[in-house]
Symmetry: C2
Subunit: 219 residues, 2 copies
Amino acid sequence: MQEVKRARGPYRSGLKRRAKIVEQAVEVFGRYGYSKGSLQEIAIRSGITPAAIMRHFDNKEELLVEVLRHWDDAQVADEKRYQGLAYFRSLRSVTENNIAHRGFIDLYLTLSIEASRADHPAHPFVVERYERTMEVFTRHLRHAIDNGEIPAMDDDTVTYEAHLLIAVLDGFAIQWMLDARIDLLLMIGTYVDAVITRWKIGGGYRPEPAAEKQDQDAG
Amino acid sequence: MQEVKRARGPYRSGLKRRAKIVEQAVEVFGRYGYSKGSLQEIAIRSGITPAAIMRHFDNKEELLVEVLRHWDDAQVADEKRYQGLAYFRSLRSVTENNIAHRGFIDLYLTLSIEASRADHPAHPFVVERYERTMEVFTRHLRHAIDNGEIPAMDDDTVTYEAHLLIAVLDGFAIQWMLDARIDLLLMIGTYVDAVITRWKIGGGYRPEPAAEKQDQDAG
DNA sequence: GTCTATAAATAGATAGAC
DNA sequence: GTCTATCTATTTATAGAC
């Protein structure tokens, strides 16, 4: 995380300062959200003044864009290294990495909620990132099916399992933010192992549109 | 939801106005969060001035407390009407109710993230509410076990399943906030049905502390 | 490239008239 | 009980010296 982009070019010190600002912005936006996270706070942490930040970024929104880009770079690294079930197993090490850089999880959750309104500067980014995650999850699940790692599922089930996995990851992250004592790695690892086992025995969850439930197994 | 507390006492009109303020505060805090949600916005929606709000509540934090109390009243209603698996089946109608009053879901998620810092005014409330939900879920799960509705699980599994259910509910809610077109009721209903089926066949998920996974089933 | 000083807008909160 | 007017603090952003 530190010492990235140690450029030897003509403006190396400028870039280092800029990287420092972005690094602190990740933490501040993660902690307080984009709206409430102030340039003042970011400036103090960077050992700088708000006015100096405005020399590096035209406005606050530009800084947010840079933060999101920085965040994305750190996340898409392992995406191509694993295929099928191996990809889902790798979510454990992804989680380890996220825990080590807590600012990113804070930022992700905070922005996911804050940017749910369409007029938020980060809204298009958050929506696009969510759709990309859905695409990645469904692709690897289909890959696992096509290669015989797990039995077939229909399209609705594949889509639902992807939604469910994202929900579990996000939901556990919320619990971890609320109480850092919980073992996030264990909870996510347990789910990943369990869901892979479930997929292998053909136990994908299939959404059934409003079947007028009879509660027939109630007593 | 409307017309609660139609008091016939000496100060009935005052209470009606106060209720109106709280009602609008739920929506504003839900939409923008507590910090960014302004008294100005609440005042305009209530057809009133910010100064008038301060006559009803000593400060902004007092208003938040009232909002949380109001929210809680609406939620704990059905808690005692169902036991064991029937309680988990009732989560479907709870979801229907939540969808009908979107402001509460917004408020819950927004505050869960925003109030994760210990210095937030709503932090103790959010933590306590989370622990209460854990207690309710584990109690009903144990009730289902004790009454023979489902096979036994060890304590760690019961706890994990409660964490997991909360994560799924929260995670799906996030997705719904980000894209209101998804069928939240179907997604939650599908999980509830599936997890009950899974519990019945003795398929509770059991967390296994760091067993130095061998990846032996990798392919 | 960073600083000090400051502008312009908005926040929560108070005073006092009615 | 609600209003107008105002206070203080904080926000993003700009101007200009160094």
